[in-house]
Symmetry: C2
DNA sequence: TCTATTTGACTGACCAGTCAGTCATGTTCT
DNA sequence: AGAACATGACTGACTGGTCAGTCAAATAGA
């Protein structure tokens, strides 16, 4: 039994199929090496159809990266610091699963894609910086300041460099993409050791 | 006054010119987008000449990355731990300048290139892993063990994860490539804060 | 029927890699 | 020494193939 669909719905579905196919293809091959005909084939659509939805290859690329990243933008402010015993427990409860998800999921692929192609797409780098990095930095910084208040941080100066807290995640994403098959790493243990380094012992 | 050159010398010079030009071109545009004709033009040489020295575009790419990375291999074992007061001072004396050099020099460009193209060139990823990462990891680990003996490390468990020590460098390289122009970072201060986090205070 | 949507063959530009020919350099002979 | 010859490094026009983007024709919905 086949559900009836309006034309508008079909069009939307096609667009989503194209976006999903394009994400796979770009992640797999990078921008230059990805063929629009291949994206179309994966989406079960003719090449021309891709051009009904996106002006050109660059527009398609930027659209899928923005789409994939937008949910992250939403989630960044979600963690509340109110009435929480320790900042470390917050990190363990939220940052650790988030990191493991990013490293192992499609989001990690997108991050790698951005790192690889960012220089050729400065607008994308700007978008990422403005919409994700800056809020994320501010959020981490807020948490770190709270941790300093609580006397949880071994090095209070860390509050000025939230990027140092995030660096192991970036490294893990890159490692997962390039070396995990040669030399597997236990990312969870790595991240826990990182927390042990940041926070006072015996909390 | 023009020095006389033998044929062999001229050939060598041309080869070097091609390698240098190719490095610039690949760093600037990535593997796919780089045109051999452009490499040739930059080297002041005809396109065919490039193919007298390198079998194809991939061979040229691998050659320049290996060439650029080999000096790093040499230098890794050079730091001695004998009769040094503190491991931290060793890091400050050697690792900090090394890191600043990598972040700001051509070596950083090559590292970014490797991160971007590594998935498409597994042999290169393997080479980098075997010749650089593994020895570097072992070396850092040796230093960390010594630091544990000295009671210098705030978190002795860190000795199991030398990558955590290197993560800020990787992050800096990526930041330098993508965001430094939007949002400059003082890499030296960042790295010093990193050291403050790793080592006991008041050393 | 008539219109909006989709299709895929087609075009034009582009580029990796080739190869027949050139010529500077090095070698041998007188 | 100097002329005649041999070498092979270098050149760049050319080939074969690829692919982004177009558009006239086919198709499916209203």
């Amino acid at each position: 039994m086949r559900a009836k669909r309006t034309r508008a719905q079909q069009t939307d579905e096609r667009r989503l199929a194209i976006v999903a196919a394009a994400l796979d293809a770009f992640v797999e091959s990078g921008f230059e090496a990805t063929k629009i005909s291949d994206v179309a084939a994966r989406a079960g659509v003719a090449k021309g159809t891709v051009y009904l939805h996106f002006a050109d290859k660059e527009a398609l690329f930027e659209a899928i990266v923005r789409d994939a990243l937008s949910p992250v933008v939403q989630g960044i402010g979600a963690i509340s610091t109110d009435g929480v015993a320790s900042v470390r427990s917050l990190f363990e409860a939220f940052a650790l699963p988030l990191m493991l998800d990013i490293v192992e999921s499609r989001r990690g692929d997108v991050l790698r894609l951005l790192i690889s192609e960012g220089r050729r797409f400065p607008r994308l780098a700007e978008f990422y910086h403005a919409e994700i990095l800056t809020p994320a930095k501010a959020h981490i910084q807020r948490l770190l300041c709270k941790a300093v208040e609580n006397g949880e941080l071994r090095n209070p100066g860390l509050a000025e460099y939230p990027l140092l807290v995030a660096a192991p995640m970036l490294m893990s994403v890159i490692w997962a993409g390039l070396f995990q098959r040669l030399d597997p790493i236990d990312f969870e243990a790595l991240f826990r050791t990182h927390l042990d380094t940041l926070f006072m012992p015996g909390a």
